[in-house]
C-alpha cells in the first residue's frame, strides 16, 4: 500500500493546494512542500530498508485488480532503479517548488496543482508494472506540463507548449497502438488477455512484428529522451517554461524516456533491440555532438542549457543500447546526475531572469563581483556539466564510455569528443555570465535559494565521490533485467576479448555479425 | 383505364427535383419553404403510388403522417422566418451567414 500512497500523495497535495490558493499566495507552496516532504521521507525509508526487505526482484510490490475483464490491474512495483528515480522526483519537486516561490504570481493554486499532477504522473510511470496503468500515468504527466508552459511561460509559450504536446503525443499514440497490439498478440498466442508487464515479457511473435512494435515503443521514448532527430521540441519547451517547469522537464520528464527504454523496449523486444543497436548508437553519438555544437551558438541562456540536455541524454541512449553492466550503470547514474545538475542550472537561469527580466546573454557579464555565491554555484554545475571527476556526471559518462567501448569502440571514441565540446560550452556560460567587466549589478542568492543550491551541490558531490550505494541499488535492478531478458547481460571484458563486434543490418537478409 | 404506378413515381421524382432546385436556387426564405413543401408532397405522392401498387393502405397512412408533419414544419419554419427577418432585417437566406469559418 505504501506505493499507492507514494503516488497518491502528490495528487492529494495538489488538490489541497488548488483549494488553498484563495487563502494566500504562499499557502499552496507550503502545502506542496509538506506533501513532497512526506513522500521523500517514505522514499528514503524504503531506501534504508531496501537491503532487509528485498524479496526476489522487487523491494516493494502492490497488486490490485482494476478492470479484470480486460486484464488491467493496478500493479505497482519498486526496485533499485525506480527507488532512486522516485527519490530524485521528490527531491527535484521540492527544488522546483522552492524556485517558484516568488516567481509565480497569478493563479498560484492552479499552478501548484499542475506541478503536483505532473509529479504524480512521473512517479506512477516509474512504478507501474501494468502497461495500461503505465500509459495512464504517461499521459497524466503530459497535460499539466502543457498547461504549466502555456499559462505561466514566457513570450513564445504558445508555440512551445503546443509543439511539446504534439511531439510527445504523437510518440505516445504510437506506443498506445503497440501496447494494444501486444495485448492482442499475447492473448491470441496464450489465451490470456492481460496488460501485466511480467506476463507480456517473452511473448512469442514474428520478427517483423517485434521490429515494428519495438519501433513504436522506441518512438515514444525517443521523443521523451530526446534522441537526435526528434529533439526539437526540447529547446523551445525548456526556454519558454517557467523555472519549475524547466526543472521538472529537464530533471524528470527526460528520465522517463530513459527509464522506458530500459524497462520496456529492450526487455519486451530483445532481438529487435539488439539489431537496432547500431542505429541507436549512431543517433546517440550524433545527438551528443549536435547538442554540444548547437549549445555553444545560442544567445538565450535557457536555450543553451536546453541543448546541453540533448547532449547529455545522448550518453544515456548510448549506454542503454550497449546493454552491458558497465554501460547501464553509467546510463542510470548519468540520468540521476544530469537531473540534479541541469535542474540546478535552470534554477540559476530562472533566478537571473527574475532579476534581469531577460535571458539574453549579451546583456549579461561580470556578475561575479556582485553575486559571488551565484557565480560559485554556477561554476560548480558548469563543471558537473562538462564531466569533471569528483562530481557525479563524470561517473555516469565514464562508465558509459567504458561499457560502450567493448561493444563499439568507434561509438565510444566519437562520444568521447563530447568531453571536449562540453568543456567549450560550459566554460563559455561561466565566462559570458559571470566573468568579464561588470555591466550591471545583480542581487546575490537569498537564503532559501542558497539552501536549495547547497543541497544540490551536496548531492552531486556525494554521487561523484561515493556513488557505490546507488550503484549497488542499480546492480540489483540489472540482475532483475538479466532474469527477464532473453539475452544475458554481459560484462565488457569478455566481449572485447572475443574481438570488437561490428553489426550490420541488412533488411533483406537480416543481421550479420562480422 | 388505370394509371400505372410508375407514372406516379416519375411525377414524384419530377416534383422532388423541382422542389430541390427551388430550395437550392431561391434566396428568399418563404420561397425556400414553399419548395420544401413541394418536396414533401412529392414524397407523399411516392408513398401513395407505392401503396396503390402493393394494394395496402400503408401508403395513405404515411401520407397523413406527412401532412401532419408538413403542417408542423410550416409553423416552425414561418416563425423562424419571422425571427430571421427580425434579426437580419431581410428574408435573404444568405444574409444569415455569420456562423462562418
Amino acid at each position: 500500500m505504501i506505493l499507492v500512497w507514494i503516488v497518491m500523495l502528490p495528487i492529494i497535495g495538489g488538490l489541497i493546494a488548488r483549494l488553498s490558493g484563495r487563502f494566500g499566495r504562499t499557502f499552496p507552496a507550503w502545502v506542496c512542500l509538506g506533501a513532497l516532504a512526506i513522500d521523500i521521507a517514505l522514499a528514503v525509508g524504503l531506501w534504508l530498508g531496501a537491503g532487509a526487505n528485498a524479496r526476489g526482484a522487487w523491494i516493494v510490490e502492490t497488486k490490485m485488480p482494476w478492470i479484470p475483464q480486460l486484464g488491467i490491474s493496478v500493479h505497482l512495483a519498486m526496485d533499485g532503479l525506480s527507488l532512486v528515480l522516485v527519490a530524485l522526483t521528490f527531491f527535484l519537486g521540492i527544488c522546483a517548488v522552492v524556485s517558484s516561490w516568488t516567481e509565480v504570481k497569478e493563479r498560484v493554486g492552479f499552478f501548484h496543482l499542475n506541478l503536483m499532477l505532473t509529479l504524480a504522473g512521473i512517479t506512477g510511470a516509474f512504478l507501474a508494472m501494468d502497461l495500461f496503468l503505465f500509459y495512464f500515468f504517461w499521459e497524466l504527466m503530459l497535460i499539466p506540463m502543457f498547461l504549466l508552459i502555456a499559462l505561466w511561460g514566457h513570450e513564445n509559450r504558445r508555440y512551445a507548449s503546443i509543439k511539446f504536446f504534439i511531439f510527445t503525443q504523437a510518440g505516445s499514440l504510437l506506443m498506445l497502438v503497440a501496447i494494444l497490439a501486444l495485448f492482442f498478440i499475447h492473448g491470441r498466442a496464450t489465451g490470456e488477455y492481460t496488460f501485466s508487464y511480467g506476463a507480456l515479457l517473452g511473448t512469442p511473435m514474428g520478427y517483423t512484428t517485434e521490429l515494428l512494435l519495438m519501433l513504436a515503443f522506441f518512438a515514444a521514448f525517443a521523443v521523451k529522451l530526446p534522441a537526435f532527430p526528434v529533439h526539437t521540441w526540447l529547446p523551445d519547451a525548456h526556454t519558454e517554461a517557467p523555472t519549475a517547469g524547466s526543472v521538472i522537464l529537464a530533471g524528470l520528464l527526460l528520465k522517463t524516456g530513459g527509464y522506458g527504454l530500459i524497462r520496456f523496449v529492450i526487455p519486451l523486444f530483445p532481438e529487435a533491440s539488439f539489431n537496432f543497436a547500431p542505429i541507436a548508437f549512431a543517433l546517440a553519438v550524433v545527438g551528443i555532438v549536435y547538442g554540444a555544437v548547437l549549445a555553444f551558438g545560442q544567445t538565450d541562456l535557457k536555450r543553451l542549457i536546453a541543448y546541453t540536455s540533448v547532449s547529455h541524454m545522448g550518453f544515456v541512449l548510448l549506454g542503454v543500447y550497449a546493454w552491458n553492466e558497465l554501460a547501464l550503470q553509467g546510463a542510470l547514474v548519468q540520468m540521476v546526475c544530469h537531473g540534479v545538475s541541469t535542474g540546478a542550472l535552470f534554477m540559476i537561469a530562472g533566478s537571473l531572469q527574475e532579476r534581469l527580466h531577460s535571458r539574453d546573454l549579451s546583456g549579461m557579464g561580470g556578475f561575479w563581483t556582485s553575486a559571488p555565491k551565484m557565480g560559485a554555484v554556477m561554476l560548480v554545475f558548469a563543471l558537473a556539466s562538462l564531466g569533471l571527476p569528483g562530481l557525479g556526471n563524470f561517473v555516469g559518462e565514464f562508465l558509459v564510455l567504458i561499457g560502450v567501448f567493448s561493444v563499439s569502440p568507434e561509438a565510444a571514441v566519437f562520444a568521447a569528443s563530447g568531453l571536449v565540446l562540453s568543456a567549450i560550452y560550459s566554460l563559455w556560460i561561466v565566462q559570458r555570465v559571470f566573468h568579464g567587466p561588470q555591466k550591471i549589478t545583480v542581487a546575490d542568492f537569498r537564503g532559501h535559494e542558497m539552501a536549495a543550491m547547497a543541497s544540490m551541490i551536496a548531492v552531486i558531490v556525494w554521487l561523484g565521490l561515493f556513488p557505490q550505494p546507488v550503484l549497488d541499488l542499480f546492480g540489483q535492478t540489472l540482475k532483475t533485467l538479466n532474469v527477464t531478458t532473453a539475452r544475458p547481460v554481459e560484462t565488457g571484458i569478455d566481449k572485447f576479448k572475443a574481438g570488437p563486434a561490428v553489426y550490420r543490418i541488412n533488411l533483406s537478409t537480416g543481421v550479420q555479425k562480422k | 383505364m388505370t394509371v400505372p404506378a410508375e407514372h406516379a413515381l416519375v411525377l414524384a421524382a419530377i416534383l422532388f427535383s423541382i422542389g430541390l432546385a427551388g430550395v437550392l436556387a431561391r434566396r428568399n426564405i418563404i420561397f425556400m419553404l414553399m419548395s420544401i413543401e413541394i418536396m414533401l408532397n412529392s414524397a407523399g405522392l411516392a408513398f401513395i403510388a407505392a401503396g396503390y401498387k402493393n394494394g395496402q393502405a400503408d401508403g395513405q397512412v404515411m401520407f397523413i403522417f406527412i401532412l401532419a408533419m408538413a403542417a408542423a414544419e410550416v409553423a416552425v419554419g414561418l416563425s423562424l422566418a419571422l425571427r430571421v427577418y427580425g434579426s437580419f432585417k431581410s428574408l435573404d437566406a444568405d444574409a444569415a451567414s455569420s456562423m462562418r469559418g
Binding site: H231, T232, P235, Y290, V293, L294, F296, G297, E325, L326, Q329, G366, W368, P372, L383, L388, P389, G390, V395, F398, L399, I402, F405, P409, A412, V413, A416, S417, L419, V420, A423, I424, L427, W428, Q431, F434, H435, G436, P437, Q438, L465, F466, P467, Q468, L471, T491, G492, I493, F496 | V23, L24, R27, A93, D94, A96, S97, S98, M99, R100, G101
Partner: protein
C-alpha cells in the same frame, strides 16, 4: 606511521574547503596562515614520511593505502587508494616543498588583492589535486587529479576575471589540455577493456605478460602520450602555455613550471613498462621532445615579456624531459624534472619580484640596471639562470642536463641526431637565458622601482637558489665522482639503464655549449645597439616574428579548427532539423485555410452539399 599518508593530500583539500566557504569573512593574516600553513603541514609530513622511507623502507619499497571503494561495477574496481613509492615520494617532495615556498611567497605577492582568500582556496585545491595525481594507485583516481589540476589551472589563469583576455587564456588552456585529456581517457578505455583492471601496477604486469608482441601497447601508449602532450605543453598541444602567463606570477611558478606541466612526464614515467612494450611510441616521444626543445628555445629567444621567455623556456625544458623519457633514460628525466622545478620556480618568483618592483611592467626592454637596485633578487635570479643554462660543474642544471645528454646518444631509441638537438638546445638555452638576465638586470635603469621585497619573498628565493646550485650533487657523472644517490633512490621503480656514454668529446661538448651560449649572449645583448640593426633586416624580421608567435601554431589552429567550428555553429544555430516540423505545421495551417472556405455559413451551400453527398452515396450503393 605510513598510515598518515592520506593526510598529505587531505590537508590542502581541507584548507580549500575552509577558505572557499568561510574565506570572505577572514582577515588576510588568517587566510595566509590557513592557505600557506596547510601546504606547509603537508610538506612537514612529507619530510617525515621521506625520512621514514629512507630509514625503514616498506616491503618492495611500496606502501599502499586504500581509503574507500569508489566505483565497483561490472569488473571495474576503482578505489580511492594511495601508493607511496620512490617515484611518488620524489614528486610529493617537490610539490609540497616548492608548493609551500610559493604559497609563502604569494602571501606577500598577492597581499592587498580583493580576492585574496579565493586565490589561496584555488591554490590549495590545486596542491591537493596534484598530490592526488602523483599518489594515486589507479588510473581512474589519477584522472581525477589530472582533471583537478586542469580545473585549478583554468581558475587561476583567469583569476583576475574582470579582464576578458584572462578568461580567454584560461579557456584556451582548459580546452587544449582537454583534448589531451580525452585522448588519455580513450587510452584508459583501451587499457581497461584489454587488460581488465585499472590499477597501475597490475596493468603494467598484465601488459608485460599478455600484450608482448601485439600492437595494442602501441595504441594504448600513444593515447597516454596524447594526454601527456596536452598537460605538458609539448608539440602539437603547446599553444596554451604562453597565454597562461596571464595568471598571477606565483601561479605561473607553481602550476606552469614546477608541477602541473610535469604531470605528463610523471604519467609516462609511471607507466614506463607499457611504453617499453611500444618502441614506436618511444621513438615518437623522443622525437617530439627534441623538436619541442628546439622550437621552444628559438621562440624564447625573441620574446619581449619576461614571463613569456620563461614560458617558452618551460616548454623547451620539458622537451628535454620527454627526450630523456623517449630514449628510456627514466631516472635522468626525473632528475631533470627535479632540478627544473627548483630553478624554474626560482626564476618565476624572481621575475615576479622584478615585475612588482617595476609596477607590473613585464616588457624586458623597458627594464634595466636592476642589479644595482635589487641585488638580492639579482643574485638569486642569476643562480637560477645559471642552473637553467647548465653552467658547468657548479649548478644542478648542469648535472641533470648532462645526464640526459650522455644517455641520449648511446640509447637504442636515441642517436647522434637527437643528441645534437639536445646540444643545440643547451646552447640556445644559455643564449636566451642570459639575454633575459642582461636585458633585465644590466644596462641603464629606466624607471624607479617600488618598495623592497620582504622576508616572505626573499626566503623562498634564497632556498630555491641554494637548491638550484646544490641540488644536482646527488647525481654526478663518472669523471666527477660518480655519485648516484638519485638513481639508487629510484632503483626500486626503474631498472638502471645499461647504456651510458662518457667520452671526452661528449663531455667537452656538454661543457662548451652553455659557455658558448653565455658568451654569445654577453656579446649580443649587453650592448643592445648592435642587435637592433640586425633585427631590422627583412629576413631576420620575418624569422623573428615567426618565432615570436610560437611558430604560427595559433594561426594554423585558428584557421583549421576554430573558424570551421564557429561557422558550423552559425549555420546550425537556427536548428535546420526544425524545418520539416515547421513545414508540417505550415502545411496543416494551409490545409485549414483551404478547407475553411467551405464553411460559408450559408444554408443553401450546406443543403447542396447534403444533396450531392446523398446522390453519390446512393449511386455507390446501387452501382457497386
Amino acid at each position: 606511521m605510513y598510515e598518515l599518508l592520506w593526510l598529505v593530500p587531505a590537508i590542502p583539500f581541507a584548507g580549500f574547503l575552509v577558505l572557499a566557504v568561510l574565506g570572505r569573512g577572514l582577515s588576510e593574516k588568517a587566510v595566509a596562515t590557513i592557505g600557506a600553513g596547510s601546504v606547509g603541514l603537508s610538506a612537514a609530513l612529507t619530510i617525515y614520511l621521506g625520512s621514514l622511507y629512507l630509514s625503514n623502507p616498506p616491503a618492495d619499497g611500496v606502501f599502499t593505502q586504500t581509503l574507500w571503494q569508489w566505483i565497483y561495477a561490472g569488473g571495474l574496481n576503482a578505489s580511492i587508494a594511495l601508493r607511496l613509492d620512490a617515484l611518488s615520494l620524489l614528486m610529493v617532495f617537490v610539490i609540497t616543498g616548492i608548493g609551500f615556498l610559493i604559497h609563502l611567497y604569494s602571501t606577500a605577492y598577492m597581499s592587498g588583492d580583493e580576492s585574496f582568500s579565493r586565490f589561496f582556496a584555488y591554490m590549495n585545491l590545486f596542491t591537493g589535486s596534484m598530490l592526488v595525481l602523483v599518489l594515486s594507485d589507479n588510473l581512474l583516481f589519477l584522472y581525477l587529479g589530472w582533471e583537478g589540476v586542469g580545473l585549478c589551472s583554468y581558475l587561476l589563469i583567469g583569476f583576475w576575471y574582470k579582464e576578458p583576455y584572462n578568461g580567454y587564456a584560461a579557456r584556451k588552456a582548459f580546452i587544449v589540455t582537454r583534448i589531451g585529456d580525452t585522448l588519455f581517457a580513450i587510452g584508459l578505455l583501451v587499457l581497461f577493456t584489454g587488460l581488465g583492471t585499472i590499477e597501475i601496477q597490475e596493468l603494467m604486469i598484465r601488459a608485460s605478460s599478455e600484450w608482448a608482441g601485439s600492437s595494442l601497447p602501441v595504441l594504448a601508449a600513444a593515447l597516454l602520450l596524447g594526454g601527456a602532450l596536452g598537460k605538458s605543453a609539448q608539440l602539437p598541444l603547446q599553444t596554451w602555455l604562453p597565454d597562461a602567463m596571464a595568471g598571477p606570477t606565483p601561479v605561473s611558478a607553481l602550476i606552469h613550471a614546477a608541477t602541473m606541466v610535469t604531470a605528463g612526464v610523471y604519467l609516462i614515467a609511471r607507466t614506463h613498462a607499457l611504453f617499453e612494450l611500444a618502441p614506436a611510441v618511444m621513438v615518437l616521444v623522443a622525437a617530439i621532445g627534441a623538436a619541442t626543445l628546439l622550437l621552444g628555445s628559438l621562440s624564447a629567444l625573441v620574446q619581449k615579456d619576461i614571463k613569456r621567455v620563461l614560458a617558452y623556456s618551460t616548454i623547451s625544458q620539458i622537451g628535454y624531459m620527454f627526450l630523456a623519457l623517449g630514449v628510456g633514460a627514466w631516472h635522468a628525466a626525473m632528475f631533470h624534472f627535479m632540478t627544473h622545478a627548483f630553478f624554474k620556480a626560482l626564476l618565476f618568483l624572481g621575475a615576479g619580484a622584478v615585475i612588482l618592483a617595476m609596477h607590473h611592467e613585464q616588457d624586458m626592454f623597458k627594464m634595466g640596471g636592476l642589479r644595482k637596485e635589487m641585488p638580492f633578487v639579482f643574485w638569486t635570479f642569476l643562480a637560477g639562470a645559471a642552473s637553467l643554462s647548465a653552467l658547468p660543474f657548479v649548478t644542478a642544471g648542469y648535472y641533470s642536463k648532462d645526464l640526459v645528454l650522455s644517455l641520449v646518444w648511446p640509447s637504442p631509441f636515441g642517436g647522434g641526431v637527437l643528441w645534437a638537438c639536445g646540444l643545440a638546445g643547451a646552447f640556445l638555452t644559455a643564449l636566451y637565458t642570459f639575454r633575459m638576465v642582461f636585458l633585465t638586470f644590466f644596462g641603464e635603469s629606466q624607471r624607479g622601482i617600488g618598495p623592497k621585497p620582504g622576508i616572505a619573498i626573499t626566503l623562498p628565493l634564497l632556498v630555491l637558489a641554494i637548491l638550484s646550485i646544490a641540488g644536482g650533487f646527488v647525481e654526478t657523472p663518472g669523471f666527477l665522482g660518480g655519485v648516484d644517490l638519485f638513481a639508487s633512490f629510484l632503483s626500486s621503480v626503474f631498472a638502471r639503464e645499461v647504456f651510458q656514454l662518457e667520452t671526452s668529446g661528449v663531455i667537452f661538448a656538454g661543457v662548451a655549449a652553455p659557455l658558448a651560449g653565455i658568451a654569445a649572449a654577453w656579446l649580443l645583448y649587453s650592448r643592445r645597439e648592435a642587435l637592433r640593426g640586425f633585427v631590422q633586416k627583412p629576413l631576420a624580421a620575418a624569422v623573428s616574428s615567426l618565432w615570436f608567435s610560437g611558430w604560427g601554431f595559433d594561426r594554423v589552429y585558428d584557421f583549421l579548427i576554430v573558424r570551421p567550428f564557429l561557422a558550423l555553429t552559425a549555420v546550425l544555430k537556427g536548428e535546420p532539423i526544425d524545418s520539416p516540423v515547421n513545414w508540417l505545421a505550415k502545411a496543416s495551417e494551409g490545409l485549414n485555410l483551404l478547407l475553411v472556405k467551405t464553411q460559408t455559413g450559408k444554408v443553401r451551400l450546406y443543403a447542396a452539399g447534403i444533396t450531392i453527398g446523398a446522390v453519390l452515396a446512393l449511386s455507390a450503393a446501387v452501382l457497386l
